[in-house]
Symmetry: C2
Subunit: 430 residues, 2 copies
Amino acid sequence: MAAVVKICNQYSVPFIARGSGTGLSGGALPSEDSVLIVTSLMRQILSVDLDNQRIIVQPGVINSWVTQTVSGAGFYYAPDPSSQIICSIGGNVAENSGGVHCLKYGVTTNHVLGLKIVTPEGEIVDLGGQIPESPGYDLTGIFVGSEGTLGIATEITLRILKSAESICVLLADFTSVEAAGATVSDIISAGIIPGGMEMMDNVSINAVEDVVATNCYPRDATAILLVEIDGLEVEVAVNKQRVIDICKQNGARSVTSASDPEMRLKLWKGRKAAFAAAGHLSPDYYVQDGVIPRTQLPYVLQEIEVLSQKFGYPIANVFHAGDGNLHPLILFDNAIPGALEKVEELGGEILKLCVRVGGSISGEHGIGADKKCYMPDMFSDADLETMQWVRQVFNPQGLANPGKIFPTPRTCGEAANVANHKQLEGVERF
Amino acid sequence: MAAVVKICNQYSVPFIARGSGTGLSGGALPSEDSVLIVTSLMRQILSVDLDNQRIIVQPGVINSWVTQTVSGAGFYYAPDPSSQIICSIGGNVAENSGGVHCLKYGVTTNHVLGLKIVTPEGEIVDLGGQIPESPGYDLTGIFVGSEGTLGIATEITLRILKSAESICVLLADFTSVEAAGATVSDIISAGIIPGGMEMMDNVSINAVEDVVATNCYPRDATAILLVEIDGLEVEVAVNKQRVIDICKQNGARSVTSASDPEMRLKLWKGRKAAFAAAGHLSPDYYVQDGVIPRTQLPYVLQEIEVLSQKFGYPIANVFHAGDGNLHPLILFDNAIPGALEKVEELGGEILKLCVRVGGSISGEHGIGADKKCYMPDMFSDADLETMQWVRQVFNPQGLANPGKIFPTPRTCGEAANVANHKQLEGVERF
Ligand SMILES: Cc1cc2nc3c(=O)[nH]c(=O)nc-3n(C[C@H](O)[C@H](O)[C@H](O)COP(=O)(O)OP(=O)(O)OC[C@H]3O[C@@H](n4cnc5c(N)ncnc54)[C@H](O)[C@@H]3O)c2cc1C
Ligand SMILES: Cc1cc2nc3c(=O)[nH]c(=O)nc-3n(C[C@H](O)[C@H](O)[C@H](O)COP(=O)(O)OP(=O)(O)OC[C@H]3O[C@@H](n4cnc5c(N)ncnc54)[C@H](O)[C@@H]3O)c2cc1C
């Protein structure tokens, strides 16, 4: 890896790391002629240390393999993107990926202890270490989520957790989105942190029932909540009852529960297949990814409905409700000229709405190429400038994944000018 | 704050942020003539948002005030250094401080959502935000633990947690350190994550009994373990029994338990007073701070005993056992010429031992001025160089807390040469 990167430097050719190519913000797509460095031959588990709860893997290792490797001994790897059977750990690190279980256990950055990276100039550097806290600057933390712009991860030390003694999944059926949203807030306010808490709206429910037929999701529900509770058996029993009570108090028509592994998987199956199912509803769909403070859920869902009406495109809503991480799926037909542009505009309006209520333009899918023009909506020039100075440190020649994350005047127009001006100044100074 | 920093820049005068001055690695001590910017007049709680579980504070706010502010509503701020009734949140952020409850809930960096900082050039920049995940580089993460070298935090958004329904503290009494160490491993292996798990050796036990007279710590124990269990009432009941069983299996002579708040405080009182009590054992003492993988506990304690014998200074051991974070207290008399140098050498040997077994030269007290010469024991030249480039980005003139974290040839000799050479090169390029 270091040799390849050095050669790229020698000839000033940009390069882009690529794991499994499941990224949803165009991060692994070249924006100019580049060498694509695909990690799919780097799929070794390098070491497993159960006593100290850590595992070292190569970047091409598939997310779900990590849990598979340690589950026999009663451990698991917590971050579980819906794409987990195909996406790579290297990609997860680059995107700081989340998943259903990240509400309770934290996203990727909370599970990466250390990294070996090849810097954009081809040097091999160790960041962090084998234990949770390392002195000096937290460069591991800055690398996680940097979307391939600060170098390529070649060895990743992950923290693994002990599997819970007991797990229960609840499915609550609501006749209004507001009620489901209020339930989410009430569960958290009660001090219960579910292993996962996901919401799906009527459109998504029907889409997944059409495609994967769980036969568990009520087709006439306005919204469902999936709540996973894990812990000691006694703890799960008590929290299960508390969650059921809260759902009922908020008007849930019914609450189904599943404790045996097969039935639990069945309840989750629809949620995990939601993106794929959207593809059956409509010739094309556009996944948006934004975050809002949990308390703004009902308001924001209403506003999304207003935008959907205004633009004339149906929107299916699936989201990590506990984290306030929305995934509106905009349904459209790309064969109709001009549709994609309209949909992108609608997607942008949703992001601006998220920022307006104090949220973020990306929850877990990154900025990549797709969202870089929205960065100035969230960050001031000084903020963006500071990030770009950090980029210069690692990536002085700008060869590692150029054209990502930061706004450029060519694609974003005026908004990018100030930040970009500084970036160019940076290039000269180095 | 920004105005003061700008004036310092104008006259090229170094400046150092200072909170309460409780830091244990000399971070807030000027190494050359400097302006000391003390945050003790910035003690306002700026906003409290219980629904979204966050609070915004000024940097001079004292750690324990945060919990005091929200405890009436059933919330608390998790990181609780033993110095919590006096240290500032700004200092906590700069040192990425830990405490008894960080085993289960994570250190400061896991609880800082966003920061407003004054950069070393006097600009005001926002890092992170009001919600847990923010796109772009994780500059909040890099600022936390940067020991005042990347700027001064002026507003800090903290995550607050819901108080547990039930809490129980256990005190287990062992006749060997190995048995206590094995108990720690067994508890974690059983999948129990205590709210806190602390170990004290015989010397420390007697020191605190002499000084604060808890009358609970058995003076003839070779080691005691303090284990706090929190959660639902049912959960605490089950885990309490499991922990008692594990202690007994490992030969604990007795296990005392306390559930009511007053008695719990009494059990913790000795641990919290351990550093202060050491001051009564001996005219002077030197606190060391290192981390080891948990499984190395018994071996490392044995080696520390060997070093104590070899150098001829008694060592009291107090530590965050669950995290493998050691705090050996070396007892000596500074009036004896040459003693301090000997003790510093002994402290250094302990750090090298930590690194040798795969640990770290600092758990929570930072590098500051005291440990910078040990950085090359843990990091390669390329690693240190990368950190120093990041420092240059924020701190191009080197005015913010100079002479900290990174080795310098004047104080560290040869070891510092490579890293420092690059640093100087960096200064020129900017
Ligand atoms: C159906 C579906 C469901 C999804 N669900 C989720 C979800 O629940 N949560 C979630 O967070 N995401 C989700 N995603 C998005 C995606 O799976 C994640 O972002 C994933 O981490 C990408 O991994 P990858 O290996 O496919 O990376 P790629 O797409 O190959 O690359 C993504 C980025 O990572 C960089 N990169 C790859 N490898 C490295 C490396 N070794 N070092 C440095 N940079 C590298 C690339 O340059 C690129 O910028 C989903 C995607 C799909 C298609
Ligand atoms: C008895 C005792 C017990 C202790 N127990 C613990 C413990 O359990 N866990 C633990 O982690 N530590 C512990 N400490 C160490 C110390 O209390 C912590 O490091 C604490 O966070 C320092 O806070 P302070 O306000 O005193 O900072 P100071 O000592 O004033 O400063 C420490 C560093 O922070 C920087 N700084 C201060 N304010 C700012 C700001 N606003 N912006 C940027 N940089 C800033 C300073 O420049 C300096 O480098 C203990 C100390 C004592 C004396």
